[in-house]
């Protein structure tokens, strides 16, 4: 029964996703209990704020800090289930709407960077596998160095070269498309280093495989061999890396958004960590967890699209 099996698969996937989200919410809930000091104090601006006992009491009542932990926990889960992420301590703003306003910028950055990284990796892999031994060495060296570049150093170096010396691109994002160039490059280059290494190796392996020999023996041309057979195989391991790539882009976004002064989840998260704005941190963590799960599902779907063998079992 294919329909039944599909249903079972979807349910299993859904169950897994709900479990991960519940666990992430629980881990963060209990982790923030470990923060030393009075949470009400934190709401009122930290220990330095000299809040009055009355004010503290009011906050305790408003946020439910006077309730037993287990009650707070279920209240929190209930709120999360309805999509209520609470209010920011520092910004006195609804976390949900804050996330919504910040999500777009990060998403745009991540999608553009992922696309560019794929393009760069693909170009490097194809070039270095068909232009002889030296090209292969150079390609490999470029990829290893690119993969080792820390985002913050790459970003500053790009700013120095393109904004300060050449003066062609803005050092901070001012909104326009031009302001996106350096942040996207910063995120894409290291990722392309990783993806490129994987693609080159799997491309080489595919080109040496018997089915490519069979195709050549049928009279297939070099470009036909690549486009019809080898690149499809070479893209598979890189596709399955996209879940990881997403995580690396999120980490990168924290740095890149800070350096280029771009609005986004990354910068919001860093500010919230510095200010110990617990609801915002939890909000970002939940959003990222949801995005991570969606990304995994998407990766899976794309893999199935490219590799029909996965659709069989």
């Amino acid at each position: 029964m294919p329909v039944l099996r599909l249903l079972r698969r979807v349910l299993a996937r859904l169950g897994g996703a709900v479990f991960v989200l519940w666990a992430v919410a629980s881990v963060t809930f209990f982790a923030v209990r470990l923060i030393p000091g009075d949470p009400a104090q934190a709401v009122l601006g930290g220990p330095g704020s000299q809040a009055s006992p009355e004010a503290l009491g009011a906050v305790n009542a408003e946020y439910g800090f006077d309730q037993p932990v287990i009650v707070q926990y279920f209240a929190q889960l209930g709120r999360l289930a309805t999509g209520d992420l609470g209010r920011s301590y520092a910004l006195n703003q609804d976390v949900g709407s804050l996330m919504l306003s910040q999500l777009g910028g990060t998403l745009l950055l991540a999608v553009l960077a992922l696309a560019l990284a794929w393009l760069l990796a693909l170009a490097l892999a194809t070039w270095s596998t068909q232009s002889g031994r030296i090209a292969s060495r150079v390609g490999s060296a470029l990829e290893i160095v690119a993969a080792a570049l820390p985002h913050f150093w790459l970003a500053t170096s790009l700013i120095v070269v393109f904004s300060i010396w050449l003066g062609v691109l803005p050092p901070i994002s001012t909104g326009g498309a031009l302001g996106l160039v350096l942040p996207v490059l910063t995120l894409a280059i290291p990722l392309a280093g990783f993806l490129g290494q994987i693609m080159r190796e799997s491309l080489l392996r595919a080109l040496e495989s018997p089915f490519v020999l069979s195709a050549r023996a049928r009279g297939e041309s070099e470009s036909g061999v690549r486009w019809i057979h080898a690149l499809r195989h070479a893209s598979l391991p890189a596709i399955s890396l996209s879940g990881w790539a997403f995580g690396s882009l999120i980490s990168g976004a924290v740095v890149v958004e800070t350096i280029f002064a771009r609005p986004g989840l990354g910068r919001t998260l860093l500010n919230a960590v510095t200010l110990r704005d617990v609801p915002v941190v939890i909000g970002v963590v939940m959003i990222v967890a949801v995005a991570y799960i969606l990304m995994t599902l998407l990766t899976d779907a794309v893999s199935r699209l490219v590799d029909p063998r996965l659709r069989l079992s």
């Binding site: 963060t28 470990l34 500053t156 991570y292």
Partner: protein, 292 residues
Amino acid sequence: MSDLEVQVGLAAQAGQPDRAAQSGRRRRFGVAETAAAVLALFLLASAVVPQLLAPGDPLGIDPLSAFQPPSGAHGFGTDESGRDIYTRVVHGTQYSLLIGAAATAIGLGLGIVLGTLAGMLGRVVDFTVNRVLEVLFAFPGLLLALLFILIFGPGVATATIAVGLSTAPGYARIIRAQLISVRSAAFVEAATVLGRTRWQILLRHILPNTLAPLFVLATLGIGQAIVWAATLSYLGLGAEPPTAEWGAMLSAGRTYITSAWWMSFFPGLFIVLTAVTATVLGRSIDRRMRHA
């Protein structure tokens, strides 16, 4: 999937036997490996005896020679207080390597515990550990480290532990996979047929074959840990200026980026060189271990 798993996967595929045979196995020590070995020696020397390579004082200020670009006197230039960047970078090596090593030790230690539990103690433990890892992977990249710093506050110690913690799930998964593949290997069965006890098999075959790749893991991981720790310092959550830690130096240089690019460039260059060295050496060791 974690950074580490990606690194290890890349090392493994770069060390494929057919590949190695094709590129000529007689070339036992290539250009890249030689360069990496020389760099590694230099970095180790900087960490152990920095005075030998840079006799100056990394914290000694000299306001008269502030913001000097690279020159004969100051190879890497000077910073806002006239401190010599080269001296600071060399002296900073010990911080960065130490933080990287400590974070790797924490991550690897936790990874060994979790991975071994999952791989050895039967299905229930394996299932549980796997679910825990799955949840931890939903905190991708820096997220786990940032959450840890949120709770315990910024600083060198917390940043180190944070990096260690966030790399642990990757180590755990690799060790678990390695353990499971070794445990079901044909040579383990052959030892059973020879009449060896479970303990003998565990000690003679399973543990040595599981732990042998750990050196490679640690080498590949330390480069990554150094980059992450420097990132946290750069974001103001780890080591703080004027400590001569590379990330902190870059963070300080950020203010003067328009006028003194060398303040950011050289510390970062050392981070990159360290990370590349770790990658190249890790892969080289891996290849040697596979085809020794």
